[in-house]
Symmetry: C2
Subunit: 484 residues, 2 copies
Amino acid sequence: MHTDRRTLLQAAAALPLATVGANAAFAQTPTTTPVAAPPKEVTRALAHYLVTASYDDLPANVRKEGVRTLLNWVGVAIGGSHHETVDIAVSALGPFSGPQQASLFGRRERFDIMNAAFINGVSSHIFDYDDTHLKTIIHPAGPVASAILALSEMQPVSGKDFLNALVLGVETECRIGNSVYPNHYDVGWHITGTAGVFGSAAAVGKLLKLNEQQMTWALGLAASQPVGLRESFGSMNKSFNPGRAASSGIFAAILASKNFTSSDAMIEAKRGWANTISTKQDYNEILGDLGKRYEAALNTYKPFACGIVMHPAIDAAIQLRNEGKVTADQIERVDLKVHPLVLELTGKKTPKAGLEGKFSIYHAVAVAIVEGAGGEKQFSDRAVTDPTIVALRSKVNPVVTPGIKPEQVDLTIVLKDGRKLNRYIEHAIGSVEVPMTDKQLEAKFSDLAEGIIPAATIRRVMDACWNVENLPSAAEIARMSVAS
Amino acid sequence: MHTDRRTLLQAAAALPLATVGANAAFAQTPTTTPVAAPPKEVTRALAHYLVTASYDDLPANVRKEGVRTLLNWVGVAIGGSHHETVDIAVSALGPFSGPQQASLFGRRERFDIMNAAFINGVSSHIFDYDDTHLKTIIHPAGPVASAILALSEMQPVSGKDFLNALVLGVETECRIGNSVYPNHYDVGWHITGTAGVFGSAAAVGKLLKLNEQQMTWALGLAASQPVGLRESFGSMNKSFNPGRAASSGIFAAILASKNFTSSDAMIEAKRGWANTISTKQDYNEILGDLGKRYEAALNTYKPFACGIVMHPAIDAAIQLRNEGKVTADQIERVDLKVHPLVLELTGKKTPKAGLEGKFSIYHAVAVAIVEGAGGEKQFSDRAVTDPTIVALRSKVNPVVTPGIKPEQVDLTIVLKDGRKLNRYIEHAIGSVEVPMTDKQLEAKFSDLAEGIIPAATIRRVMDACWNVENLPSAAEIARMSVAS
């Protein structure tokens, strides 16, 4: 490669000539002047880390969180797999898919790895119930797990290599996300898609055993394909974003593996990714303490299938219900001290459809007390029209209270016999401070997978996830996770 | 669709809770507040135009320029088809391609339409010799023609419908490009890829007969996939960008055709495309005089396979050579009055490889006088080492002269017998003011396609392009343009 000469060529070629005057032509000249040196060789240094980092380098807590990330992702991917959005994607893309290389989680079709990764990425995000890196609001597994599970079905990938690639992919997207957050997100980018494509490319590139130069190019081709704008929230396009990040990351890594070139400095160059896509660039977030500080260890999982603002109240309601063996007919009323956002976002008093239930603190608390859960089933049309739940929700009384933070709630169940059951939540279950237990992750998984894959298989898939580091082939997980 | 409710859901789901404090949580609240009304319903109005505009609406000059755009694109796509970049892409993507739906121009392989569009888009840009919308430096045909020629092989598309879709696609990308240019380009986006994906989605969506809602969503899914950063210039990644714009635009339109939803306002919303990706948004450039003002009529074609800054000198040299029947051995010296950019960008005195010749005004003028052309062959290793050309280039004497604009040159050939042949160029051939003639486009096409497809076929393909409006099936053009 003669990059300097090529750059000059392209710069010259780009110069407008005829319809623009001299001034406009000069406006283009910065392209041809030497670009100020970037703070570091960010892209190349990241690539160096990615190609050298090995499974044995991973601390135990990082491995453990990687396994939990995997299990949670498989559950939500299976759970979402028959949503209308996924049916549409499968039907639309079927005629264009390549060889049947990879499974669609929770379904029977098989697609080429790029289309499979796209569809699985869509499935896993459709309930907005997947994992969250709270510092950036990135949903890390969607772009990464979708991509490398598909790849694992095409070439042999040991469980250890798989887990290492998963962690490195998550690390890559979250670190790159940190480097531009919050400015990049605030302006309108859906950071799960824009950072996610790097995560997919890095993880797939790792499993393809790219060398440092190829990995640098893979990151460059990933930088060329940011996915997703926040305006899409509320439409199928939101789930499109992690799916497309997964497939575009594979596309980047596959091309780089054959020496399709890019710039060596696509992340940090003057007209590279970070400067073009964000007003903030903190490269230390990308390169600082690589192999020591792990963003992948900070992943969290939603216990409830609704907006996170209702999670403290649902958590408190379930705790009291389970401890006090309370039943709906014993309850006089339920008092909640809440942050203003709770009523602002979820103040719907009489939801008529399951989706509306996700915006009703009244329904959420009532169903949590009656059913002891807050999964997709608790936000179904069935649940919001259940007479017991409907009766109870009218007794739920949220009051905006100064001093209560968004992550807090103070909930009191007043019983007809005069007793009061109170619970104050400082951090809800599912936060970094109070992570979901393995058992709770299993319950969430089972709830999502039930009725989609056979009950016995649910147990086997979860066991395979917990045991991924010892699997001779990570593909087992994908192959088991399909509809019978 | 219940967009308002879904939006609320997603906004609530996105709210960070545990690891960030109340202030950070409040920093997210703008998501949940009503967004200021956009100036117009830009995306929907554009979609309305696209689904209603018909071939019969196109003025004759627009149809004519569309045909020229097609012919030029087919030539450069065939010409670039055996470049190393294309070989790599074909080899990398082959294992993942779907059914053999579409031709690769200049080659024998057949790929699914998305992968074929990608590869043909790469081929057509690799020499940087394709068409240019000079107001935005968009190369319009790459993303659009690549996409709809591939689609035409999969479903019946009449020549008239094809030309209409081509014009509408070019119109879409150039108008959207205008709306954010130059800020969007200046900051670092490769506008051919970022705007191009809209062009592809619009043109493919037109041929798929999307209704207005579906077209709106196709534009939204296109907005979610901007491609390309200027830092990639000088690497294969530059050609990747129009190719990926083509395939991602197809991806968007295909999904929308099955009612995969997006926002209805992805271009103009507060956190939509234009506000997120540019500091300038001029929606009148998108919607103003739709169906009256045609950006597609402003397309231009490069006569010479090098940076546009040398085009005036090459043009002058060829004119004098042809008129004066000058041969190299008669020449004492060649004096050029040039703009400073000429020496800044193309001041290489002794190029040793063909690529270096593209940065040598000395070589460019010499080879133009000796061979009467400035095509890819004139910038080959053979040409820059040809003794006659090497001898003549040492007699080329460019002088930076005040008052000469970048699009101008004043060139004088001083003969050994004392005669002087002078030519002043105000606008070089290939500009909007002095467009390439149909005959010149044919010569460029033949020069590019020679040795790749059979000579008799070259004539047939050119005739099919000129005659596209009368073809029962546009697919003929693609099917003829392959290697034998």
